[in-house]
Assembly symmetry: C2
Homo-oligomer: 207 residues x 2
DNA sequence: TTATATACGGAACATTGTTCCGTTTTGGCA
DNA sequence: TGCCAAAACGGAACAATGTTCCGTATATAA
């Protein structure tokens, strides 16, 4: 059932419900919580205590559990938000850079997302049902974002056309996973290599 | 400091310590604990409460922490024991079967190990320092075990000679990881396929 | 047999996820 | 504007679990 308030029967006898708008304080709490959670997760990891997040948000624990029935739901919400932010970066980059550059820049944005969210992989494999929808959501949001950039770059003749967006997402994720153990900017070099590989054999094939 | 008991100064003034053997009850507790932990981990996962393991071992929690300062140390000890058991299976199989068969049988033994210990992968990536030595231990024990089988089979002309033991261990581990989502005996089929691949091109090349 | 280091058991403590409920706030309405 | 009911809030209290502490029991050397 969705949020609702007063209800009455219309002239055909059907019950009509007029949704009551979300209260201002509720929205404030939710925003503060998501922001605080992101901050705490980034600095202390996704295992940080709920109390710590609530305190940082200036909110009681009861409020946390009002918005997120389980701790894992809060974690999932933060991850979804980060996925959204990463996906939304694609059109923003597309209007400000040439297609090939936009693609390369977004790949690094994506890499940054992967780097900070290494807790994501652990969470996904924890088996908690609260995370079940995340892999799907991940692909639903990021695949179209990358595909658009890829298509634009291909149309401009700046990259080759035989790579699928989802394959590229997975490949970079794998690159970054093992790059985590290596040096700090190892991931950056590997991704650069990959992007250069995309450019290779486009309009300007090598000798 | 190691286990020790009475100590006295020798004629040069150096303190000499005579190690006292491990007490019988201590060894009993340790064995019972490891056995109980393996059982509980297998049925309830590696997140099972320490109290449950202690109860199953017929031991107090204090005794658990006497042998394993941290919960994670107990988990690591159980994993090490399982790694040992898997490694020790190699020579046992080698004396009872033809080299090629021993290799195939051990690969399934290894697969079974991977299947039941999926909690291992999660534990390894948890970042807990208690698990730091496990990957090294894993390779140190299993690589020689497999290499011996591989060499024997190669010498007998039953498998090709261009595969390294560690690569094979990693490949099968990866096969089993994604096979976990598929059907139940998917892993078995994939591993069979891989072993047949090893046999291919040995003494009896295809047309 | 006795002394003593060693080991044991389990109550008690600390941390953290979750629930409960009395209090406060918000927004529609008279 | 003032009132009221629904919604939201805060935080104490509860439950589960890792960890510590210490009085008691036991094994081993002499």
């Amino acid at each position: 059932m969705s949020t609702e308030a007063s209800s009455q029967d219309d002239d055909a006898g059907r019950t009509v419900t007029k949704p009551r708008p979300v209260r201002a304080d509720a929205k404030r709490s939710l925003d503060a919580l998501l922001e605080a959670a992101l901050s705490v997760f980034t600095t202390s990891g996704v295992d940080a205590p709920v109390r710590e997040i609530a305190a940082k948000a200036g909110v009681g624990v009861g409020t946390v559990y009002r918005h997120f029935p389980q701790r894992a739901d809060l974690v999932a919400a933060v991850f979804r938000r980060e996925i959204d932010a990463c996906a939304d970066a694609a059109p923003a980059l597309a209007v400000e850079h040439k297609p090939g550059d936009a693609l390369a820049l977004w790949m690094h944005r994506y890499t940054a997302f992967l780097a900070t969210k290494r807790g994501l992989a652990t969470a996904l494999h924890s088996g908690d049902p609260a995370f079940d929808s995340l892999p799907t959501y991940f692909m639903q949001r990021l695949e179209p974002a990358l595909r658009t950039l890829l298509d634009a770059a291909a149309t401009a003749g700046e990259v080759r056309t035989d790579i699928a967006a989802d394959d590229l997402l997975g490949a970079v994720a794998n690159l970054c996973r093992q790059a985590y153990e290596k040096g700090p900017d190892h991931a950056r070099r590997m991704v650069d290599l990959l992007v250069d590989g995309l450019r290779y054999g486009a309009s300007t094939p090598a000798s």
